[in-house]
């Protein structure tokens, strides 16, 4: 067992974990933060994306022990302090960027990371950035629209509707 200490959504947490405990499992089973989903075993689907020290990572492909000392942010930490949806989350609702909701936490975390790096991404940049997040429901149309809208661009015009 290894002792890990990290900050998750602004709260300090500390626990003894096995070496093999993945960050995704630590969040879900250890902390009850089940918004982070696990959709594959090969680091492809992106449902488990969280931010570690401000960067998007696949939490199913990082050991909890390797996140010792890190600042971790999950989907549960994305809402505004008053509980309302943040700009990215609200854009997903406004533009119907989700259906079953399973890929959504990872999609939101990746989109937020993109916007932090690139506040006004083009459609092509968004599509390229989201290649590590698989959605089976939306055909991606409304996800890309939502990210355009969250960046303050005219999503409807850019989606040529």
């Amino acid at each position: 067992m290894t002792k890990v200490t990290m900050t998750v959504n602004g709260k300090a947490v500390s626990a003894e974990v096995e070496g093999r405990t993945l960050l995704s499992a630590f969040l879900r089973e250890g902390l009850g933060l089940t918004g982070t989903h696990v959709g594959c075993d090969t680091s492809q689907c992106g449902a488990c994306v969280v931010h570690v020290d401000g960067k998007a990572v696949k939490s199913c492909t990082m050991f909890a022990a390797d996140a010792d000392g890190a600042q971790v942010k999950t989907i549960e930490g994305m809402n505004n302090p008053d509980g309302s949806l943040s700009v990215v989350q609200q854009a997903f609702q406004d533009h119907h960027g989700l259906q079953c909701g399973f890929c959504t936490p990872g999609m939101v975390m990746s989109s937020a990371a993109l916007l932090a790096e690139n506040p006004k991404p083009t459609e092509a940049e968004i599509r390229h950035y989201l290649e590590g997040n698989i959605c089976r429901c939306t055909g991606y149309h409304n996800i890309v629209k939502a990210v355009l809208a969250a960046s303050g661009q005219d999503a409807a015009a850019l989606a040529a509707e």
Partner: protein, 792 residues
Amino acid sequence: MPKDHGIGASSKRREDVRFLSGRGVYTDDMALHGQTYAVFVRSNVAHGRIKSIDTSAASKMPGVLAIFTGEDFKDVGGNPAGWLINSRDGTPMREPKRPVLAHGKVRHVGDAYAAVVAETYNQAKDAAQQLADDSDIEELPAIVDMKKAVADSSNRVHDEIPDNLCFDWGWIEDNRAAVDAAFKSAPHVTTLELVNNRLVPNAMEPRSSIGEYNPGTGDYKLTTTSQNPHLTRLLVAAFVLGIPENKLTVVAPDVGGGFGSKIYHYGEEALVLAASRKLGRPVRWTAERTESFLTDAHGRDHVTKIEMASTKDGEILAIRTETLANVGAYLSNFSTATPTFLHGTLMAGPYKVPHVYVNVKTVFTNTAPVDAYRGAGRPEATFSIERIVDKMCRELNLDPFEVRRKNLIQPDQFPYTTPVGLVYDTGNYQATLDKLIELADVKNFDKRAAASKAKGKLRGMGLSTWIEACGIAPSNLVGVLGSRVGLYDAATVRVNATGNISVMTGAHSHGQGHETVFAQIVAEKLGIPESSVEIVHGDTSKIPFGMGSYGSRSLAVCGAAMTKAVDKIIAKGKKIAAHMLEAAEGDITFEDGKFSVAGTDKAKTFGEIAFSAYVPHNYPLETLEPGLEETAFYDPANFTYPAGAYLCEVEVDPETGKVDIASFTCADDFGHVMNPMIVEGQVHGGVGQGIGQALLENTSYDENGQLLTASYMDYAMPRADDVPFYTVDHSCVTPCTHNPLGVKGCGEAGAIGSPPAVVNAVIDALHRGGHTHVKHIDMPVSPARVWSAING
């Protein structure tokens, strides 16, 4: 000005708030006191005889609580097929038992033959590996190729089925002679052999189940990833475990997509219940993604020869097909209906074809079971028809738009009876084709093609005009066709004493947005805010009954049941209002949430009537029961027939064979649209999956029955950069004539109409680029296949 609430408004989805905040509750998110973990031991050979399973070492491993093998379930029932199909000679299909755990033989890679339950997941996993090491399974030759399977009776998936054939179905057998005669005298015959590629549905949430047995009451609860909790309850209770239906609750909480794969009952659900009964503790299981690839019911997998008889100017005279349809190792619940009544009955498409004959042989192989996947049978029919129409146009040098226009059923011909047993109630296929040509800017295609050429790319355009039968549906009809269940649906509308409303629906929402759309409909009908209506679904203990969500049926069938229940509420409300307003019931009108006496200003609000029903101080108690709650079951008179026209433009890189979707345009007729935003989202998703089938997705077994595409490393899922923005339109409306909302269903359209449009576009691009020797490329039209076709 678009509506901002009620029917026809693009109301934002209420369910999104929880999903976007990480507060959705999917099965695997639930933590239960005292929970234990099940892990399955799965065959790593495609076909084998189980000689022995030595449980002694595994059972002594740390944390192990119980071990189950096929032996434990040999005396309980099997998971049944939902449809009985007869062969052409009248004999019933072969229906081998599908046990909870394989017994005697394993029949596909991933076939579970044992399970371990332990205190922790890792302990169960360790013991499962030990058990696999301690199992002696004699490998037998694998049966993978369908043609070989039916030709070689010495090698059998099921020992009692000599030719590996489930049935040999003819539709419609009596028409066969006339069809053959039409071909004999036809001026032109086009022939095409094609494969409709096997797909893995890949809902992003892997299957997951939790069994809970309460030793105090003898009640069972199954929480599971299901599109169809009542059917699962029926199958587990009545067919598999023999639990009284009233002692079993099935809950399908938030479910992360289904696309067909979660309609069915799977053995893991029975196992966690049986294990929980044995241990008196909750038992949970969640699939790893590779387990999903190996064991979720796959889709499609047809090998078809289609022939089309026509005049030299493209009038279709007859269609004849022979299909081998793979059902895999066992019959999944709908697997016999998919290649037959959801496929053969659509083989006339939207066209005036006088003669059609369809032959389907379903074949057992040592592969995962195959069942309905988004579209189910109708994409296979549409692909065959739309590909051969295109090939006919090329052979006769005819314009594909004009040939389709000429053959489409005319608007004044409805209701239209097809030669394959359906009656299309309504439609206007010319209208959607015209709309498509306008939206896709077909007239400027040559300019775009020239621009592509300047970049070294070949541009092509592909058309598909398609129809589907949805709202699966009328019990009397499906009963004739072999269904062992009814296909109605049910809803309860409960008006609470304070006037707000709970609606319990048999339809299950796993991405479709029922919680929003159904509330819009009820709110509109009752003249109350949407926020006053709550939709409850996915719990057999709360809902009267339901047949679940698939086949684009939720709104057309369950929505209709809900509408009927609301009508009953209004009818009862009028009785109460008549009493309170001292007027005749016939004089009461209901509008904008108010019951009024016609021609007067006397009125009661909906809330006042609801209050009166629950506080019946001034109430006609001698003639009317208190309370305001109504249930309706609805069984439609027919399928619904959404239809549309799709156009895809592609750019092909001739040096690498890579196909890029340049644009994709859809003109659909879904009847009345309840929430345009959601309808458009459904089409986007369907088209995305159709593009996936056409260009990317390939389920490949090697000759030993090993699944080569068992993870996202090899199974190519469409990603954001594989697809464009789509142009979708649903402004052409011919309302369904037989359900109260006039709706047709939109969930499967995109997946049905798009694959042939993509492939037709690729062939078009290659022909325009001078590669006229390429007649067909099987899906997925991968870069390597396109390059080989060009250079072959």
